[in-house]
Each structure stands twice: as structure tokens, then as C-alpha cells.
């Protein structure tokens, strides 16, 4: 009786394991959208990381130059990087020569294993930040998106990207180093077509994130520099591509509101939990994840506002 059942149970078990193995390897569904001659953007959602989206919440991009494809950011995981590379190779016959990683956050820098190490470039301070925080980010990413991360390892690019002009084929890319989002943030401007790859210096219809931000007002000041460029298409790090500068105005408005909220709350002696529950103005209703990010930003930045609002008590 028992011996007759065992093979059937085994067979069921094998079938079940095979089924779950297949179900556990979901694929990213990436699409390249042309935004200018020879320039494509790969848009992600404006959600938070989840096991449903595999961390595809980010915009990556690539462009042909006549002398090799320039890629901007590699995405949240090895699997994303591989899908991005396959998409690039479907879209153009040109070989990939430069992969510019805008900053050290996992959603932008964790697909690098899919690309040749010699093609990877990053600002020097961003390389140091990735070496410092990469493993902790990876742990957190495995927790948040699970199996999508399988096989992903932190890769710190060997090549240092210096601010100035990077000439590749017919394009003379402006390499701009900023600090507002993480302390080492790359912005790339392509003057032939006027495309600004703002990366996470600009979040559009998606609340900005602050875990390594050195300060909200410094961030806002840097955005004013970007507004002076002759931009025709703005590619934010998160959220929809724009053909005007309205995302910069939305960012400035949001940063000003956040800074004022934190400063006023500190002056009124509010506790962090009270700030996290503060009302968010209705004009920001179109910005996703704003309550979630207010909770995070309060954790990151409010302690300094609080300390500045208190006075040293003499013994």
C-alpha cells in the first residue's frame, strides 16, 4: 500500500518543484522608446520596490554615437541588466562602449554584471559610496524583491568618470557632477538633441528619496543650474519623460515644502512620528509614494533639524 503510493507522491513532488522553479524565474518586460534620433529610454513604474515589479521602477537609457553605444544606468538586478543588454542588441547593431552609472543606489547600479567591466564608468565619489554601501543595499534588495535578485553581485566600476566633456563618436556628452540626491550624482546632457539625463536629481510625479541626501536646499540650488541648459527632453530617474522643464519646477516646489515642513516642525517641538503624519498639500496629489517617502525622509533628515532647533543646556 505504502510502497505503491511513494512513486506517485514523488512524481507529484517533482512536478510541483518544476512548476515552482519555472514560476520563480519571472522576466522583466522591457521596451525601448525612441525620444530623439538614436536615443531610447526604458521606462519603469513609479512604484516602490516589490516582488511584483522586480525593482523595475527606474528609467534607464541608451544612445548610438557611431562609435559605440552609451548606456545610462544598468537597473536593479543582474536579470534586469541582462534584459537591458538584450534589448539594446535588438535595437541597434552598434557595440556597447560606455556604461555610465549615475549614482550608487541599487536600482541604478545593480545590473552591471551584464556588461563588460571595461565599459563601466562612475564618478569617483559614487564608486566609493558603492563600495561602502553596496553589500547592505544588496541585503535589503534581496529582502524587498526576492528571487529577481538571484545571482546579483555588487560591481564597482574600475573606470572613473570625470566631470567635463565625454566625446563618443558624434556626441559630445556633458558630464555634470552634482550632490543633492546622494552626494555623488551624475547628470548627463546630450547637446545634439537637447536630451537631459537627470537621473535621480529629478523625480517626476514620484516622491524624491533622501537616504544619503546631504541637504534639501543644496539639492534645490543644483536644480537651478539644470534649468539653464537648453533642454528639449528631460529624462528623470523615476517617472515620465518630459518635453518641458515642469519636472524641475515640481522638484523645487516639493523640496521647498519638505524643508519648510521639517524646519517648522522642529521649531514647534514636534516628535518625528508627528511629522510623519503631517498633512501633505493637495497640489502634490499626483506624486506617488509621497507618504511613504515622508516617513523615510523624516527618519533621514529630521534629527538634524531637531538638533538645530534645540539649545545647548549648560551644566
Amino acid at each position: 500500500m505504502i510502497s505503491a503510493r511513494v512513486p506517485r507522491i514523488l512524481a507529484l513532488l517533482v512536478a510541483w518543484l518544476a512548476g515552482t522553479a519555472a514560476a520563480q524565474a519571472p522576466e522583466y518586460d522591457l521596451a525601448a522608446r525612441a525620444i530623439a534620433p538614436g536615443i531610447w529610454v526604458v521606462e519603469g513604474s513609479t512604484e516602490n520596490f516589490s516582488r511584483g515589479n522586480g525593482g523595475n521602477i527606474v528609467n534607464t537609457a541608451f544612445m548610438t554615437t557611431g562609435a559605440g553605444v552609451v548606456v545610462i544606468d544598468t537597473g536593479p538586478s543582474r536579470r534586469y541588466g541582462e534584459a537591458l543588454r538584450a534589448l539594446i542588441e535588438e535595437t541597434t547593431a552598434e557595440a556597447i562602449s560606455h556604461v555610465l552609472i549615475t549614482h550608487h543606489h541599487p536600482d541604478h547600479a545593480f545590473g552591471s554584471q551584464a556588461f563588460e567591466p571595461a565599459t563601466l564608468y562612475m564618478l569617483d565619489d559614487a564608486r566609493a559610496a558603492l563600495a561602502r554601501d553596496g553589500e547592505a543595499f544588496a541585503d535589503n534588495m534581496y529582502r524587498m524583491i526576492g528571487d529577481w535578485m538571484r545571482g546579483t553581485e555588487v560591481v564597482v566600476p574600475d573606470n572613473v568618470l570625470a566631470p567635463g566633456v565625454l566625446e563618443v563618436g558624434r556626441r559630445r556628452l556633458q558630464i555634470i557632477a552634482m550632490t543633492g540626491h546622494t552626494g555623488a550624482d551624475l547628470v548627463v546632457f546630450e547637446p545634439l538633441s537637447g536630451v537631459l539625463f537627470a537621473s535621480d536629481m529629478v523625480f517626476h510625479n514620484r516622491a524624491l528619496t533622501t537616504p544619503q541626501s546631504p541637504g534639501l536646499l543644496g539639492w534645490r540650488a543644483e536644480l537651478e543650474q539644470l534649468a539653464e541648459l537648453p533642454v528639449t527632453v528631460l529624462v528623470p530617474g523615476h517617472g515620465p519623460v518630459s518635453t518641458d522643464l515642469s519636472p524641475l519646477r515640481q522638484m523645487a516646489d516639493y523640496l521647498t515644502w519638505l524643508d519648510t515642513l521639517l524646519a517648522d516642525s522642529a521649531r514647534a517641538g514636534l516628535s518625528p512620528a508627528e511629522v510623519m503624519n503631517a498633512p501633505i498639500p493637495a497640489r502634490f496629489d499626483g506624486i506617488s509614494e509621497r507618504r511613504y517617502e515622508l516617513v523615510r525622509t523624516t527618519t533621514h533628515l529630521y534629527p538634524d533639524y531637531e538638533k538645530r532647533a534645540l539649545s545647548l543646556l549648560p551644566e
Partner: protein, 259 residues
Amino acid sequence: MNILINILVFVLGCLLSVGVRAAWPDDPFGSPMWAYNIERYLGSDARVVHDDRVNLRVPEFAEDSAQVPLTVDLSAFPEAPGQIVAWVDLNPVPHLFSASPGPQPLTLLALNFRVQQATTVRVAVQDREGVWHIGSRYVDAAGGGCTAPSQTMSNPDWERHFGTIRGGAFSRAEGMRYKVNVMHPMDSGMVGNIPAFFIGEVELRQGNGQPLLLSMALSESAAENPMFVFEFGQRPPRATLWLRDNNGNQFERRLGGDL
């Protein structure tokens, strides 16, 4: 034979504890530690009710497992609160603080705590009849906050800032709010080769022979460099903060403002 006796004791113990726990309301969060920690911190004969007027505010997730903000707003509590006990169910040492307010009604208390893993958090407030009113929240977390070395100690000149105390007094619509920040590593003793070193005793004194505004016992779940907020429904004539850590360091500061 011994085994039989052990089994008998175990079964009796289970029956007894079931008998006691039946008197407590169910935990809406279904925490395995609900009854155990009530018994541990409030006693096996505690009378317990859920009460939203113990307005406990913690974020739904811990962005930093070593610094999770907690605020207990008692402004809707119908009487001056008695004993207040707070704990974090799944921490290695769940107890966060026990506070005894004086005659001035305490309307709000805030501080940061650590979480070791996703957990429920409880604040129990005792009324005049001795009944405990419990506010509960769930906080999701990557965890590890209790067994991570303090940021303070990784800074080579931490001793220069050790014991630095900043404070402020804030007039409220009714009453007075005090906010105090103390630079102290608050080491939990759960990190290898770093002994427990934390502030265990906190008092807010009025002086002049007046009763204490508040006395509070803190445990290992409290976060480093604590930022305390205390609010009273009436403005106390004066307030002095007194602290002592487990190494015997004492700190005393007159709280600022127009006192």
C-alpha cells in the same frame, strides 16, 4: 516517573495560563508574545482593555532599525494617566520604558526605539481603577537594530560629545512641551565586546520639595542619542531633567525656555 510528573506540571501550567489568558481580549495583531508580555510586564492578574485613546504612533515600517520613532499621545485619554509601560514584543529585551507621571497630567511622550525584527509595539496606561488601557501598532523592519554597534562608538571622538544635552521648551495651546536630546551611545550589551552602557533612569523634577513631574525607567530597546519629548497638560512652574546611566554617570540640566 519524573517524566510523568513533568508532563503533569506542564499540562497544569497550560491549563492555568489558559485560565488567566481567557480574561484578556484577543490581540488584533495575533502576536505570539501578547499574553506572555502582558503577564511579564503587567502581571498575571492584570485587567486589560484595548483603547484607541492610548494613541500610539509608530511608522508602519522602520526605515532605520536602530532609530524607530514612537509617540504616545494621551491627549484623548479621559483622566490623568497612571503608570505607563511600553514594550516591543519581539525584541530580545522587549521592555522599552516604564513611566510614572506625577500630579501634572502627562499628555504626550516620545522617544526612539530599536527593532530586532518586524514586531508589534505596545503601550499600556493604567487608569485610576487599575485597569490597563493598551494601544498597539505593528512595525515592519529589516531588523538588527538591537545587535548593531552604535554609530556613536564608531566615531573616534565620541567622548567629546558624550553627555552633551540639548533642549527646548515649547508652549502648546494647553500646557507645555519639553524636548531633550542626550548624546549617549545607549549600548544594549548585545553586541560582541561592547558592554551594556545606557541611561536607565530619567526624572523630570520640579524642585522645591514638589513631587516629580515624571520618573521613567528605560531598557535596552531605547535608541542611542535619545531624543525625548514630554508634554504636560498644565504648565509646570519649572522643570529639571535628571539622568543616570548604568555606569553611574549622572546628568542634570535645567530645561530651557521661559521658566
